[in-house]
């Protein structure tokens, strides 16, 4: 059910891209507002509290952009979509090749279609090979490097800096390579 909701939301966001940006901004501003209040309650002056809240939040625009990107991304594993694309390309290439074989060789159109068939087949091979390499890389890098499994996890110990395994946009090493 939640998948269906996510798909509907994705379609809605696709139709109204500005709406996502507004929603994300409202949400993030709410966070800063709450942090500011907490800082004031802890004894800070209002201006100090707001400044501290912004600092502890980090790069507002970057977070907003990242959240918008995630909202606009496909709500399901895009590997299925890619595989469908490879199959389509392969079918098209095969069809083109068959057509080219049946064309008379002595005319220009026949030669042209043979060239097209070779190019399309080569392209399908390259795209398919890239897809397989990517899959192998992800598998070899263990489940913790799965693209969607890991999220921004700059986790800080209460009194000092912690270990940041992700970059500022919350991307894993694999995501940094492929995105």
């Amino acid at each position: 059910m939640s998948r269906i909701k996510a798909t509907l939301r994705f379609l809605n966001h696709w139709r109204h891209p500005d709406e996502i940006a507004r929603e994300v901004e409202t949400e993030l501003r709410f966070h800063i507002e709450m942090r500011t209040r907490a800082n004031i309650e802890a004894g800070m002056r209002p201006d100090q509290a707001r400044l501290a809240a912004r600092e502890s939040f980090g790069d507002f625009d970057r977070v907003k952009t990242r959240c918008c990107e995630i909202s606009r991304s496909l709500p399901f594993d895009s590997t299925v979509l890619k595989m469908a694309m490879y199959i389509t390309i392969a079918v098209l290439a095969g069809g083109t090749a068959l057509w080219a074989v049946n064309m008379p060789h002595h005319n220009f159109t026949g030669v042209l279609w043979q060239v097209v068939a070779i190019v399309v087949l080569a392209r399908a091979f390259v795209v398919g090979r890239r897809g397989v390499s990517k899959k192998q890389y992800q598998v070899n890098d263990s489940e913790k490097f799965d693209e969607d499994k890991s999220v921004a996890s700059k986790v800080y110990e209460a009194h000092g800096a912690g270990i940041a395994a992700h970059d500022d946009e919350g991307r894993t090493p694999v995501e940094r390579i492929f995105n």
Binding site: H31, R35, V63, K144, A152, G160, G162, G170
Partner: protein, 110 residues
């Protein structure tokens, strides 16, 4: 328990967010607060990093969100765990226990 530096492994934030939300619906700020609270203030998520995490969990169908009014009468987005999210939390916990157990075993080896 010592409060010295405690770095977390990748993917741990997912589990922490899911755990925080398993205790009830929360807005993003509340998730960070709850993680700090349930970890006895040992863990604090860098605030900006929390949101991409929440959005990804939502995209995967483990969390769903809804706009509502917060305690201070402000419009806020509340997140709650889905059934798939509850199942995922169990998986994450099991993985974590296995990893922690194996690490402890390795450390105790003489």
């Amino acid at each position: 328990m010592s409060k010295s530096k405690a770095g977390l492994l990748q993917g741990t934030l997912d589990m922490l967010i899911l755990k925080a939300l398993s205790l009830g619906a929360l807005h993003g700020y509340g998730v960070g607060q709850r993680i700090a609270q349930i970890s006895d203030d040992t863990l604090k998520i860098e605030e900006g990093s929390l949101y991409p995490g929440l959005y990804r969990l939502e995209r995967r169908g483990w969390v769903e969100s809804e706009w509502d009014v917060s305690d201070n009468n402000q419009r806020a987005k509340f997140y709650k765990l889905t059934r798939a999210g509850r199942k995922q939390l169990i998986i994450e916990e099991q993985n974590w226990e296995r990893l922690a157990g194996a690490t402890m075993k390795a450390l105790r080896a003489s």
